[in-house]
Symmetry: C2
Subunit: 256 residues, 2 copies
């Protein structure tokens, strides 16, 4: 049985307000919890099934001797989280401190202008991780990356990609590498010789990249369309653009 | 007020069983309903707000004089559908009859092996439409393309892409064009000279392309990975592969 107080604490972490207040966040699902336990993030509590504990108890003791371990049924675990399934494990962990932002040579990063859907943000983090992008800067209005839905959709990639919430106009004004923005009517990404390093800006789900950022975008780029759909989902567009950037870096001669 | 019988009929269409029985399906949301009304699909009933009717009533009368028009509040419309928002219009339409399948020269199509998530299927339909792919063959276990969640996620593209549910092993055995399958360890799509025409096979969200289809896949292809994520979501993978196929068709010399 999980105490009332513990239940209240865990459930409060569904809300950004309490994540901010406590500096804690939730990770749901056996797979994500296992990846979390392999990382350097401090895990204060895990709530797991008997079966999970039998299989992973030794590792837990060895790697996280100070973590509080609570055993519960799948139903109880589900009731603590935001998902109906995904229920063999749940963890309460410390939100890691942001490092100071710095750009390495040859590095690409993403800049997100008010991505509002947690599923989209989580998927974008997973895509960044696939394409070797480790840094994402987000407008302050972008949905919180430590919400359970973002963490879950990132499929463990939240452990390998760092996010900063900052005023993008100042960030882009001062950055020393080319800034590419995804628009519906820009230059064909198949014909763009991407620089060795750069920022890829993706806009809000319905509004796209907003006007106030346009002055900072040097290259407006587009995914060529062969059919009739009006647009692509922002996570889909991110993946296609990242693939083209990596391909261009590998094959092409950078123009910068 | 919508009658009890009408409410019951509309709500029954949330379920595949009743869609099959009645030959009807639901379209939710003003934007999708408007696209539907511009298409050749028979629309038997629309439930719309006063505001929607004021704006689009003339077009409705002109293009669909026989469609039953019911006026309701946003709350009532939401209560009829599966979505909490998306609530200015809802339509009941006839499931269009499948044409006989045939492949055109220079054509690419998708083959889906048990895609189970409706959001993924809808997104794949939207991606196909963007890349000019008009035909998708699905294993019988693939989620129903006329479910409200698929229709909604396709963002209107369900009107321009046709789907067939058939035994993929027989289909692939008899098809006369190259068959490419997305695997985690296949040939780099950046270095693949895609044929002028072909089938792209995408597998189930957790199992990928299943063993029984492997004998029919001539080319195992992969999206190059530069980071650490274990995999990409199937809709994301579909988009990146389609982009590479279209690029290869435009730039490269087909090997077939």
């Amino acid at each position: 049985m999980i105490s009332k107080n513990k239940t209240k604490l865990i459930k409060s972490l569904h809300q950004k307000k309490y994540r901010k207040k406590t500096g804690m966040f939730l990770v749901e699902g056996a797979k994500s919890v296992l990846e979390l336990l392999q990382s350097h993030i401090n895990v204060t509590t895990v709530v797991v099934t008997e079966v999970f504990l039998k299989e992973h108890g030794n590792m837990l003791n060895r790697k996280h001797p100070e973590t509080e371990v609570l055993v519960a049924s799948e139903q109880e675990i589900s009731a603590l989280g935001v998902f109906k399934t995904n229920n063999a494990a749940l963890a309460v962990a410390e939100i890691p401190k942001s490092e100071a932002f710095s750009l390495q040579p040859q590095e690409y990063i993403l800049a997100l202008d008010d991505i509002s859907d947690p599923g989209n943000l989580g998927t974008i983090i997973r895509i960044a991780d696939w394409f070797g992008i480790h840094k994402i800067v987000c407008s302050p209005g972008t949905t919180d990356c430590f919400s359970p839905k973002v963490v879950s959709a990132s499929m463990g990639s939240f452990l390998r990609v760092q996010l900063w919430y900052i005023a993008l106009e100042h960030f882009l004004e001062n950055i020393q590498v080319p800034v590419y923005g995804a628009f519906l009517a820009g230059d064909d990404i198949h014909q763009t010789a991407f620089a060795a390093s750069g920022v890829l800006v993706l806009g809000n789900e319905s509004e796209g990249i907003r006007k106030y950022l346009e002055p900072y975008i040097e290259h407006r780029i587009s995914i060529p369309k062969y059919g009739a759909a009006e647009s692509l989902n922002v996570a889909i567009a991110t993946a296609v653009i990242c693939d083209n950037v990596m391909r261009s870096k590998k094959e092409g001669t950078p123009i910068y």
